[in-house]
């Protein structure tokens, strides 16, 4: 088990290294193919009508005159050993892991990422609870009442849920529930859970539901299919024959077996939540990692892009690892030797 984990961690680190190299290459190599000089890169980070001197100074400051490999090395060194930043009036120490300073706001990236991950985690965990509970419960009920009105309408809604994009459902629900009826919080509302848990939940209710709707649909359908399959198995008949109450049959024997694929998908989904967070946070103007990523990309803010990409990749890798370990708990058959 220990060697397995070590092996996986090394694999994960290699993966992150590759992701960072690819991101860096896309940022520098693609524009270079279009003929971008260091000055052309730097021209993105100066005010309008800036003189050539200003552009050269900025290119120098951001290290654009160095070969891309050297720039990448500097980035890695910052993560491992930290770096120093000239604020003009003094020197700022950026301790490891230092993802550098934003080209646009000149703010250190790492504290920003940490601060914003609270928002994304709040969004993700809340939505995950909603979609797991809602999706699995709907799936079980649908399977047990197969062909009923409930089954049909639930699966219909589920289909709509997967098909409708978040920026659509988000905008519509905002204008109906927040601006029309006034039931939910307006866009951009955020309070940290440690300050006011009730307000925190109230503010996030609509984003949670919007995001959960997208995922819940998949879970409802997966659970339904899994339950239908397992409920037809011999051991379920045996359990019933033993005289077990129906609830015990469904939960202990049926659901437990149907849960394995759900855990797999959940792990992947939670890791990939960034994708959903990008849209949800942009739609609801929440200052989480997703919106940070969008802004960073829009502004060509390389250090911010690198930081958020690596953090997202880390998320996916860790979520996968956890899932693999959870398998052993849920399904004894795949327990590792």
């Amino acid at each position: 088990m220990v060697t397995y984990i070590i092996r996986r961690v090394i694999g994960a680190l290699a993966m992150l290294l590759i992701v960072s190299i690819v991101t860096f290459a896309i940022f520098f190599l693609v524009p270079r193919l279009a003929g971008a000089t260091p000055e052309a890169f730097a021209a993105r980070y100066v005010g309008r009508g800036a003189s050539m001197d200003t552009i050269r100074l900025v290119a120098e400051r951001l290290g654009f005159y160095d070969p891309v490999a050297v720039q990448y090395g500097r980035f890695l060194k910052g993560i491992v050993a930290g770096t120093e930043y000239d604020t003009g009036a003094g020197v700022d120490h950026c301790p490891a892991p230092c993802f550098g300073y934003s080209f646009i706001t000149q703010q250190p990236v790492w504290p920003n990422l940490m601060d914003r991950s609270r928002v994304t985690l709040s969004l993700g965990i809340g939505a995950a609870v909603l979609w797991l509970v809602g999706g699995v419960a709907t799936g079980v009920l649908s399977a047990l009442r197969r062909g009923s009105f409930f089954d049909r309408s639930a699966m219909g809604i589920a289909l709509a849920g997967v098909s409708l994009p978040i920026f659509f459902t988000g905008m519509i629900s905002l204008s109906i529930f927040s601006y029309g009826l006034g039931w939910t919080a307006p866009g951009g509302a955020w309070v940290d859970v440690t300050i006011d848990p009730l307000q925190w939940a109230y503010n996030l209710l609509l984003p949670w539901i919007t995001l959960a709707l997208l995922f819940a649909a998949t879970y409802a359908r997966l659970t339904r299919a899994g339950m239908l399959e397992t409920m037809g198995e011999d051991y379920i008949r045996t359990a019933r024959a033993k005289g077990l109450v129906e609830r015990g049959v469904v939960v202990k024997h049926g659901l437990r077996a149907a849960l394995t694929p759900i855990v797999t998908v959940f792990g992947l989904d939670f890791g990939l939540l960034m994708g959903g967070a990008v849209l949800t946070e942009s739609t609801f103007s929440l200052n989480g990692l997703g919106k940070y990523a969008v802004d960073a990309i829009k502004n060509n803010d390389l250090p911010a892009v690198m930081g958020v990409t690596l953090l997202a990749a880390l998320f996916v890798v860790v979520a996968n690892l956890v899932v693999d370990l959870l398998y052993a708990v849920v399904d004894p058959r795949v327990r590792l030797a």
Binding site: E39, R44, D86, T87, G88, A89, Y292
Partner: protein, 576 residues
């Protein structure tokens, strides 16, 4: 106005400031009227209190007064900082007036307009209670000189002042003497020494670069996190990338400041808010003002325009911004003036007008200078029936150019801008009538000037004959609008906003304007320059831009000033 006679063109007189602004209320008892804040004050009031809520679809380039250039930032900075001068907080053309702010009066120029002296008011304090002296202004000017640390701000002062050789700004040349550029003989006096005469120096002095910065509180790139206020408001909380809150600055003394009513008690600003959400929140009343001054987005337009109640809450002023097409003489056969004129004749300007949004997007214009600026004159060189283009004259010009059957060239525009795409397509269609075949070339807007349409070598190699452009003024003087897009001596290897206007007579006249003290003569010379540029057909103006602004609910004392080109943030208040 001649424009009003054109079929299908807007009938509104261009320039919100054409009629004298009357400081009367446009609304009474809550009735909303469209354009109530254009040229006059909407809901006039001097009642203090309340919280003004603003939302920004993007983010400031910087809140640091030495490192900012965005138009709305120059408008907004006056809430927390005091420059030597400022634009009067007044509606319409009245808002173009420069009034003393930190200074006691506008600048006193030497006879050769190379030395400018300002006396500071007594009793102005920083938020910590320290008295502001001329040294703090001099320091602010010296620190913004360092463009490595402060790359966003205007470079006017670096270029205009007589800095010592090798000077690198307040950080790198820490104790260097820069009195050849800025002198402070006593705590109330500051003298600027210019390399060359510049009659419009006062316009530069109203920019936030002259807002005082206390040397011992300057933290370089981190100063934006807590700017030390001299204005009526100071930062209570500032989270860069998310938003900030301004509260009253108790060290601000209204006796030293006749310009700012300072109505709200508190100003809350959210940044990075989804643009569609901002429009929805303006409509619902959750937000008072969209701070970026860009106007209502495309998604909300179909909701707002057909609804009389919502449309009544909008303001639709003509701005000091022109949308135009550059006709680039570096690309054959456009090196021949007749081929360029053929384009100017053949273009369907009515169709272009619709491409830029029609009635709420702008008014058809035939000159580069915007209608509300000095020197504006309609230029009727390429007039046509219903503004639909003159195919016959275009064909005649083509024949003179030696291309009777037309020619092929490319047109560049910014991919992200749907209106510019529509404009390029409109030209493609109307020029096809005379055999001029355009190929559309979209480029990403971030690199539009640095790599593509603003780079002479790229334009030549890729035969970009036409490029869709637009230009707005830095400050409401024609020099601030025209110089950057007509002076050929500013054309460099890349990053040009202009590379098509290269007329020696124009350059010569710009030098004459710099030295001309008489405003009327300057205006006349700008008219001549405008005429030359249009006659040479190196620029083809399409529309004078209009913006459509939405007023949130419960605003008082709101107006659009010509200098800010959007709601004036110094004047506005809220109902309680």
């Amino acid at each position: 106005m001649a424009l009003a006679a054109c079929a299908g063109s807007p009938t509104q007189t261009p320039g919100q400031g054409q009629s004298a602004p009357a400081a009367t209320g446009a609304t009474a008892g809550g009735t909303e009227v469209a354009d109530a804040a254009v040229g006059k004050i909407y809901n006039p009031s001097d009642k203090k209190g309340g919280t003004l809520k603003m939302a920004n679809t993007a983010d400031w380039d910087s809140l640091d007064p030495g490192n900012t250039y965005y138009g709305y930032s120059l408008n907004f900075a006056r809430l927390y900082g005091r420059a030597l001068l400022m634009f009067k907080a007044a509606p319409g053309t009245d808002g173009n007036t420069l009034v003393p702010d930190l200074a006691e009066s506008v600048g006193k120029a030497s006879d050769d307009a190379k030395t400018w002296t300002y006396k500071l008011r007594k009793g102005v304090k920083f938020e910590d209670g320290t008295e502001v002296t001329s040294k703090d202004v001099a320091y602010a000017v010296a620190r913004q000189f360092d463009k490595e640390i402060h790359p966003n701000g205007p470079t006017y002062l670096n270029a205009l002042l007589d800095w010592p050789k090798g000077y690198k700004g307040a950080y790198k040349s820490k104790d260097a003497d820069f009195s050849s550029a800025v002198e402070t003989p006593d705590d109330q006096t500051i003298i600027f020494h210019l390399k060359e005469p510049f009659g419009l120096f006062d316009y530069i002095m109203q920019m936030p670069m002259t807002m005082p910065v206390p040397k011992d509180k300057d933290t370089g790139t981190k100063y934006q996190e807590h700017v030390i206020s001299t204005g009526p408001y100071k930062f209570e909380k500032n989270e860069i990338g998310k938003g900030f809150t301004l509260v009253r600055n108790d060290q601000w003394d209204p006796a030293t400041d006749p310009n700012r009513p300072a109505l709200p008690d508190r100003i809350e600003v959210q940044t990075g808010v989804n643009a569609d959400d901002v429009d929805n929140r303006l409509i619902s009343g959750d937000v008072h003002i969209a701070v970026d001054g860009l106007g209502i987005g495309n998604a909300a337009l179909p909701k707002v325009l057909p609804d009389p109640a919502l449309k009544a809450r909008t303001d639709n002023p003509v701005q000091q911004r022109t949308w135009y097409t550059s006709i680039i003489p570096d690309v054959a056969p456009l090196d021949n003036v007749e081929c360029r004129r053929a384009i100017a004749f053949a273009a369907d300007r009515n169709s272009l007008y619709r491409a830029y949004g029609g009635e709420t997007g702008g008014v058809i214009t035939t000159s580069l200078i915007p209608p509300s600026m000095a020197g504006y004159k309609p230029i009727d060189l390429y007039k046509s029936e219903g503004d639909k283009g003159d195919v016959e004259k275009a064909k005649a010009a083509l024949a003179k150019c030696g291309q009777p059957n037309g020619f092929e060239t490319n047109i560049a525009y910014r991919t992200e801008r749907t209106k510019e795409k529509a404009a390029a397509e409109s030209l493609q269609q109307s020029l096809a009538r005379v055999g001029i075949k355009l190929t559309l070339k979209p480029y990403p807007q971030d690199d539009y000037f640095a790599l593509y349409a603003g780079k002479p070598s790229y334009v030549k190699e890729n035969k970009i004959g036409l490029a869709i452009n637009g230009w707005g003024s830095d400050y409401p003087d024609t020099y601030g609008f025209m110089q950057a897009i007509t002076d050929s001596r500013d054309i460099r290897d890349a990053g040009n906003y202009n590379l098509s206007v290269k007329i020696p007579e124009v350059d010569k006249m710009i030098d004459q304007i710099k030295a001309e003290p008489d405003a009327a003569k300057r205006a006349d010379m700008w008219s001549q320059i405008d005429h030359m540029v249009i006659d040479q057909a190196v620029v083809m103006p399409s529309v004078a831009s209009k913006a459509l602004y939405m007023r949130g609910k419960g605003l008082t004392n709101l107006f659009i000033s010509d200098s800010q080109q959007m709601y004036d943030y110094v004047g506005v208040g809220v109902q309680q």
